[in-house]
Symmetry: C2
Subunit: 384 residues, 2 copies
């Protein structure tokens, strides 16, 4: 049920005609209240897409009444004309659902550098507004797909009577051929905007920010959290934050599992670092090594490439006391050759790479994918 | 003639039996003097290979009498046993050519994490010492090849009577399936060690350091410069530095042209930056974007991916006033859509991507390759 699992939300997904394929391409999510609290996290790319610029302003006051999303075009690097298009999408949506344009967030996904066809967009907003339903979550999740092979949804229901539900597409920092990760999460818990914001930053920091399929940051990445308060229940902040992180982690895993052309999901876990930042930096360097990612595609536990990548980070540890394990088999122990690589099997989709720095107590993980023929194919052929 | 183009040097390349393929795998370069001046630049990877640790110490006093190089094994991440192996290579070479072990640099290339077979290495050093000749440069350049499809050599001859010649293999920061870029440059110019060192750092800073095929830094990268002084001519330092940079640039281009699986050589040139560091950071971010590199493989002038990569760098410029050109066609002008991408042809191997930040007067370029099926294939299958 994704974004309509929580009470107080309607949604719809329709075929507006933005995509040439005739597949669904426009979605609406509307918050019926009583609250219209919201928080958002956006790409840190300097080239922020027009809808991101609009939405970042819209959510600044902690209020959102609706979100309009389209696939089939990212409306990024489209200059002032693109910004006017994003504003029109907010105004048309506000007019249809009865709220101020400034309370509407806009999300777009698709090719960078192409103007949106505004006639189909307007038609789509009108169609979607007519279709809004308390069961519309799955349709909305469908309509934001681009190269996604499946829609991504996650729901957490608290025994205390509140719910968090979300949808995602992506892409994103995962495999952004379409240069976009979009996530909308809704809740009927009673949560003030500042607490929503804190919970969302914590959740994305531990989930989407640590999911790095190809090291490429999008111009359109957006994660929105809306609360209706319709459950009437104000949850314990820690409990709410934990539940939100779980929903985001669930969506992040679904994104990774569907990343373009990937054959393996890889967890790179770094332990024994002096600081969490060191652990993250080492894990990210490994996760971004094309040589490492090609090796995993070839089912090759090439720990030399793990170390060569780790060594590019000037973190505080002694390279002569490092361990590396693939799926639990320690192939490099205390800076010396360990178990033979033939003892490692990488046949399964899930791969765990553990690096122990033996320098401190901090740890962190990055989730990534392998680098495959199909990744190259999809991303060499996408826009031509 | 590579390393024997300059007077005062002998070299040899032989088949020692380190490689299973039976191809040449061991080389010697010997400086006959009168000077034995030298300088070296090495990988900044924390996991420095044993031969790098040895050679860095050996060249510290500005003296080298010989270099022994092997392909077929990188002797990296091999612990204390590997360091002892590198030392033995220097000792054996010193005994054969009649110099102190401390005046012998050692370079190894091949798979990380595998001990070298020391019996063939010893045999190879003895064979090569017998083969040393003033015409041995090409044989030495042959023997350091791994996945290189051709040997790389470059020579500069000054009308003033001195010469610089070099050989390279790689790989390196280019496409290090074998995790190594090795370069040996010799000269018969009379140049004191401190000036050699300064000239070498300038040359590598402008050439190899700006060649970035796949963003992967090796554990074995080594660039050595030896001078015999045999010409008796002490060149103008600026002229020598310029000539050395030209030889290194020539070798760097040859490395890039032969990078594993590549279909395009790409120059990413960033102009109008506030500082050269900003220009380099933006150029490097673009050159490391897998999405951009896949697009070039697909002959797709996808400037959206150029901007998305540029935008990940927090350099000082206004994204609303940026230009992007592919092979001279300005597809994005002053933050707005420019010429249609259909006007760009990427059929040729050489591709020039220009980004103008309109923020200052600094500029810099990075040379890279595209990301292809063959890159994935070579690097997925290499060690299995």
């Amino acid at each position: 049920m994704s974004v309509t699992a929580a009470r107080g939300f309607t949604a719809a997904g329709v075929t507006a005609g933005i995509k040439a394929s005739g597949r669904p391409d426009l979605a609406l999510v509307v918050n019926e209240g009583p609250d219209a609290h919201a928080a958002g996290v956006f790409t840190s790319n300097k080239f922020t897409a027009a809808p991101v610029q609009w939405s970042r302003d819209a959510v600044r006051n902690g209020r959102l009444a609706a979100v309009v999303l389209n696939s089939g075009g990212a409306n990024a690097c489209t200059g002032s004309a693109g910004l006017a298009d994003a504003q029109k999408m907010a105004e048309w949506t506000g007019a249809e659902v009865g709220c101020a344009a400034g309370d509407v967030a806009v999300c777009s996904t698709g090719l960078i550098g192409v103007r949106l066809p505004m006639d189909p967009v307007l038609t789509g907003i009108q169609l979607a507004a007519q279709d809004l339903a308390h069961t519309g979550g799955p349709s909305a999740a469908e309509a934001i797909r681009t190269t996604d092979t499946v829609a991504k949804e996650a729901v957490h229901t608290s025994p205390d009577g509140w719910t968090i539900g979300g949808m995602a597409k992506g892409a994103g920092m995962l495999a952004p051929a379409l240069a976009t990760m979009l996530v909308v999460v809704t809740t009927d818990a009673v949560v003030p905007p500042a607490e929503l914001d804190a919970a969302l930053r914590t959740a994305t920091g531990f989930t989407f920010d640590r999911t790095d399929s190809d090291g490429c940051m999008s111009t359109n990445d957006t994660v929105l959290l809306l609360s209706s308060g319709a459950s009437g229940v104000a949850p314990d902040p820690a409990e709410f934050s934990e539940a939100l992180t779980a929903v985001c982690a669930d969506l992040a895993r679904q994104l990774l599992a569907d990343a373009e052309g990937s054959a393996h999901d890889i967890e790179v876990r770094v332990e024994g670092a002096v600081t969490e930042a060191d652990a993250l930096a080492v894990a990210r360097a490994i996760a971004r090594s094309n040589l490492f990612k090609c090796a995993i595609f070839g089912n090759d536990p090439n720990w030399g490439r793990v170390l060569a990548s780790a060594g590019t980070v000037q973190a505080d540890y002694d390279p002569e006391h490092v361990d590396v394990a693939f799926n639990g088999v320690r192939v490099f122990v205390d800076g010396q050759l360990g178990a033979d690589r033939s003892e490692v099997s990488l046949a399964a989709r899930e791969v765990l790479v553990e690096v122990h720095l033996h320098a401190g107590d901090a740890s962190a993980a990055i989730w990534t994918n392998d680098l495959t023929y199909d990744y190259v194919k999809e991303n060499a052929e996408y826009s031509t």
